[in-house]
């Protein structure tokens, strides 16, 4: 008997899969009707779930490097989410197929007639793009499984060497993930506007991933805490720690987003500023304002308050707000590249969002199953090492 089964999350697995398949069927109908619209709708919805997966891997490694009680309850869900990277790699296939519909630079006839795009061709071309994507996924999957293997070994041998080895992999992994996410964000999102560039973009995207993952696991934890198996384990202090970390990432997000905007607004260069001009008129502008209010001010003030951070029900609302705004931001980054004149939102984005949600969740639960949801043995050893209670017998 494992706690996972007792938490009841497993019973959501099959319904989720069914909903996911239904979502994908709807999306395929959309694809038949209008392939270009489908591909363009696919990217933002894919990125939303990708952020959670990539962010989970990053936070998991951060937890293994720094230790700290904040991560004890979320290690298992983070690990499970990180290992679903294989699913995300498979779900990347529609993007690979639809490249010319999504990215301007993937159309040879346009590139041939555009000096700047021609100049960028050595980097922005379909072959190299797909090769890079394959490399990113290979690296992410490798790290997710390597950490899994070390954790399993630690479970067996409980040798500090194994823990140290996992910590080293995680330290190197943090370096790796910042670099790979930087380039992935350049490839997948920034190159939607191939003439625009901003060196903050990769940093901002990485922070967005971490924020998404924090919001997701915190939400999951609050839901699990309602079940009997988890009752009495989740303490207000756990949620407060997670709330504070979310607060920090909300502030970091605002910091990078505002700095990038201010510098481009101030510099007012013709190769940079159209990016924001496009994104501040009409409904795109309304979305930008919504980001300022609901992606920064609202969660910021809510997360300052202990009464909100400490209670599962209230912090869950904040996480939902953050996750919703993550989707809005992604759509605000992606959408105007395809629909610069006026706002457009395809129903297919919703279909894909639900489709990936269901299928991804099935795999996520599959990974989560069959293990304790709290890595008790690990914390015990770590704590003992930390407090010096363990004596050497070497």
């Amino acid at each position: 008997m494992t706690t996972t089964q007792a938490t009841g999350i497993v019973r959501a697995q099959v319904p989720a899969l069914i909903v996911g398949i239904l979502g994908f069927i709807a999306a395929i109908i959309g694809w038949v009707m209008n392939p270009a619209e489908f591909y363009r709708a696919y990217l933002p919805s894919y990125l939303f779930w990708f952020e959670i997966v990539a962010g989970s891997l990053a936070i998991l490694m951060l937890q293994y490097v720094t230790g700290g009680e904040w991560g004890v309850l979320i290690r298992r869900p983070l690990g499970a989410a990180a290992r679903t990277m294989i699913v995300m790699a498979v779900l990347f296939i529609p993007i690979a197929i639809g490249l010319p519909h999504i990215y301007v630079w993937a159309n040879p006839e346009i590139v041939a007639n555009d000096h700047l795009l021609h100049l960028k061709q050595p980097y922005l071309n379909p072959t190299f793009f797909l090769l890079r994507a394959a490399i990113y996924f290979a690296i992410w999957i490798l790290w997710a499984w390597r950490i899994r293997v070390l954790s399993l070994r630690f479970y067996e041998d409980r040798a500090p060497e194994t823990e140290i080895s996992r910590r080293k992999w995680s330290a190197a992994g943090l370096l790796m993930i910042v670099l790979t996410l930087t380039f992935a964000s350049i490839d997948w999102v920034m190159s939607l506007e191939p003439k625009w560039y901003s060196s903050m973009f990769g940093i901002s995207f990485t922070i967005g991933c971490a924020l998404s993952a924090f919001a997701y696991v915190t939400f999951l934890l609050t839901q699990l805490s309602k079940t009997k198996a988890m009752s009495g384990i989740l303490k207000p202090s756990h949620l407060r720690d997670l709330g504070n970390l979310m607060l920090a990432f909300v502030m970091l997000w605002a910091y990078t987003a505002f700095s990038q905007f201010l510098l481009i607004w101030y510099g007012n260069l013709k190769e940079e500023v159209p990016y924001y001009l496009k994104r501040q008129h009409g409904t795109w502008g309304v979305m930008a304002a919504a980001l300022v209010i609901f992606h920064f001010f609202l969660p910021f003030f809510l997360l300052l308050m202990r009464t909100i951070k400490d209670r599962p029900n209230t912090i869950a609302i904040v996480t939902v707000c953050i996750l919703a705004m993550r989707y809005i931001e992604i759509y605000w980054l992606v959408g105007p590249a395809h629909y610069p004149e006026s706002f457009y939102f395809s129903w297919m984005s919703i279909a894909v969002l639900i489709g990936i949600a269901g299928i991804w969740f099935w795999f996520f639960v599959q990974q989560l199953k069959g293990q304790t949801i709290i890595p008790i043995h690990e914390t015990w050893v770590e704590e003992a090492i930390r407090e010096g209670r363990l004596s050497t017998n070497a």
Binding site: F258, F261, L262, W265, Y266, L304
Partner: protein, 183 residues
């Protein structure tokens, strides 16, 4: 307390000296459970739970800091806006008069400055510091309170205060000594 200019006379309270933090905390908790309300404890470092033990829980600082921070932020933004839009508009590099993104850094700094001042001055004011004279300084060994000794004082203004009872009560906790504190 007497009027201004009139020396206060009489007894401030009774103080007990302890050699370790746990003894002080236990004594303070027992005193509160016994029904004493006017007391204070002194220690060379902060002890978790001691303030609650002497019947004090809310610092009231969060509200001060939040208010000051919001005032500072709005004030800083208003200052930039008023100076460069209303009072003395200047065209700089073709930027709009109300260049709101440029007001944000200063608004932020003002918010932090006022909030920090609120935290420090609020802490000092609410603690009643600076206070150069206090009766506990009359206790001969009180200078050890900033080194390695722990003190608990039960004040004379406590309605439950009975000199002999208080002395006996404090003696129960095995203090190093129990002495009267004059005003």
């Amino acid at each position: 307390m007497g009027g201004i200019g009139k020396p206060i006379t009489g007894l401030y309270g009774v103080i007990a000296e302890f050699s370790d933090a746990q003894a002080l905390l236990d004594a303070a908790n027992s005193a509160r459970e016994e029904g004493y309300t006017e007391m204070d404890a002194f220690s060379p470092f902060p002890i978790h739970g001691l303030a609650e033990a002497v019947g004090f829980a809310k610092t009231g600082l969060s509200a001060v800091v939040l208010t000051m921070g919001i005032l500072g932020g709005i004030g800083g933004f208003f200052m930039c806006w008023y100076a460069n839009v209303i009072s003395y508009p200047l065209n700089i590099g073709g930027k709009p008069y109300n260049s709101w993104p440029a007001w944000i850094p200063i608004a932020f700094e003002c918010a932090i400055l006022l909030a920090a001042l609120g935290a420090v001055l609020g802490m000092l004011a609410l603690n009643g510091l600076p206070m150069p004279y206090h009766p506990v300084f009359n206790v001969r060994r009180f200078d050890q309170a900033s080194r390695d000794k722990f003190f608990l004082v039960l004040q004379a203004r406590d309605p439950k205060f009975q000199l002999d009872e208080v002395r006996d009560f404090l003696d129960k906790f095995n203090p190093r000594e129990v002495v009267d504190v004059p005003w």
